[in-house]
């Protein structure tokens, strides 16, 4: 199977409370914050690797995983780290971050998919900076492909995937014939979440994403990485959403500490009046 995995780097989500919004709020100041791969995209890379290998012998690749990112020159780091964990080659589409939005990325990916002809586009359900959750669905519509979003499990069958989706109040299972678009949710990296046809159904992965060993980090530097311009993919690079300003969330003031359970119940009944 040939899989295209769009990835994005985001400002460190574990320190998202440290982002600064300067007076006036014209833009968000991320200075001092580290860039990290979007967690959901790391899960998508892991899922793509699992679908293109026999879990028991991961070094022998049994398919191709191509990572693609949109961004300035420094985003090569994100691609190299995906290559180090096992992805086969990478594409960087050059653009300044502020000149991109979800619609434009979906349109660009459509052209790229038509060039690369993957069997599957596998991506995170959302990037944790913009928190939009949109590109996979838009891409599927533009391509006229079926989709399965918020995947918790993926099982490869002959020419199709059986996907368990996280929905409100349960799991909805879909069967999608390839080619298709699948976006992944948190549980996709659990030990028995993803099975390629090459992997024995009894095999169990380690929980979470795999980490790159030092030799793999070195050899990742030799893996193919091509660069292109955004205009190579879309003639019209206009944006459909415009940010006017930003503001911090309303502060929630800390309340009181109560000394006992009975004091707590008393406050909930008589002060907050919620019981």
């Amino acid at each position: 199977m040939k899989i295209l995995v769009p990835v994005k780097r985001v400002s460190d989500p574990d320190n998202a409370n440290k982002i600064k919004i300067p007076a006036g709020g014209a833009k968000i100041d991320t200075t001092g914050l580290e860039w990290k791969p979007n967690p959901f995209d790391e899960y998508a890379v892991e899922a793509a690797l699992r679908l293109t290998e026999n879990g028991a012998t991961p070094k022998a690749r049994g398919g191709e995983a191509i990572v693609v990112t949109f961004g300035p020159a420094d985003t090569v780091t994100t691609l190299r780290s995906a290559l180090a964990t096992g992805a086969d080659r990478a594409i960087r589409v050059d653009s300044a971050d502020e000149n991109l939005d979800g619609t434009l990325i979906a349109k660009s990916l459509k052209t790229l998919v038509e060039k690369e002809k993957p069997d599957l586009v596998l991506m995170g359900k959302q990037a944790v900076d913009g928190d939009s959750n949109q590109v996979g669905q838009m891409l599927a519509e533009l391509l006229g492909w079926p989709m399965a979003t918020f995947a918790a499990t993926i099982k490869e069958e002959d020419g199709s995937l059986l996907v368990g989706r996280e929905v409100d109040g349960g799991v909805l299972t879909l069967r999608v014939k390839l080619p298709a678009v699948v976006t992944v949710d948190l549980r996709i990296v659990a030990p028995t979440s993803v099975y390629s046809k090459q992997t024995a159904p009894t095999f169990k992965y380690n929980d979470g994403v795999r980490f790159a060993a030092l030799p793999a980090i070195m050899s990742a530097k030799k893996k193919p990485l091509v660069e292109m311009k955004l205009t190579d993919l879309v003639p019209d690079t206009g944006l459909s959403i415009k940010y006017l300003s930003f503001e911090p969330p309303p502060a929630r003031k800390a309340g009181v500490k109560v000394k006992s359970v009975s004091e707590l119940v008393d406050k909930l009944v008589n002060e907050a009046k919620v019981l």
Binding site: L139, T149, L172
Partner: protein, 325 residues
Amino acid sequence: MANVLVVAEFSEGKLKKTTHSAITFAETVAKGTNGSFSILVLGGGAKAVSAELAGFGAAKVFVADDASLANYVAERYAPTVVATAKKGFDVVVTAAGAYGKDLMPRVAAALGAGYATDISFVKAEGGKLQYKRPMFAGNAYGWCEVTTPVQVVTVRQSEFAAAAPKGGNSPVEAVPVAPASAGADRVTFVSLDQVKNERPELTEASVVVSGGRALKERFKEVLDPLADTLSAAVGASRAACDAGYAPSDLQVGQTGKVVAPKLYFAIGISGAIQHLAGMKGSKVIVAINKDGEAPIFQVADYGLVADLFQAVPELVSEIKKQKSA
């Protein structure tokens, strides 16, 4: 002037509460721009909720009820939403749940419309709509404009009060199901395994009892009695889900469900940013944690530093006493 189309959501013959929030958004936009709003409900059995939807003062209620829509599949639902939107609507809205988040980006792409998600506030400024939406796990709010003629949006249920029926009588119009999207023949609904639950749904509950990793294997044993006593929904932190103490569909947080109940209990939850992003909108927050320095106490209205294995059972019996008093 903006005409808004609300895509209603229902389950087992009942309108979902999330729809009421989307209606409130639509009323706000219609009022602010001298426009109007209509409602579309689609799916197998949609007719059953059309009478209820006619009571919200909408210009029209469109109904697409067809066997081909028996089970929700975006590729089969999106074209009918698109066709209805083309009857002169400027804004298409639904609540930002799993349904809206799956369906609406496809609708936006098909309409060539810009898409803004998780809107928490809307204002009409010089004839243009400006939306406020949370970003960076709720650590910033962005004000944005969608620059395309037609706009597709999803709204946060917790930020728009539920619209109450006004007793109006909107005309109900049946609309045909539009031909399915390309690719629809390559996707098949297999099953929907709903977690059978006597409790209210997490995003719709007025009381939520959430537990963290500190509960370990005793998650259910400790929290269920409290949830039962309060008729509350049960939630969990990401850490508790990751550790396997709670199923991941209970996860409250930036990457899970966003809740804003009247009363929220955070039990054995330290208060990671990612969790706070999912519950900061709650009216009253109670935190019980052994660690008095835990960040959850910075957002809690009432904090109790205690061993939860003792405090929660005590809380259950105190609440029962209160209720029988």
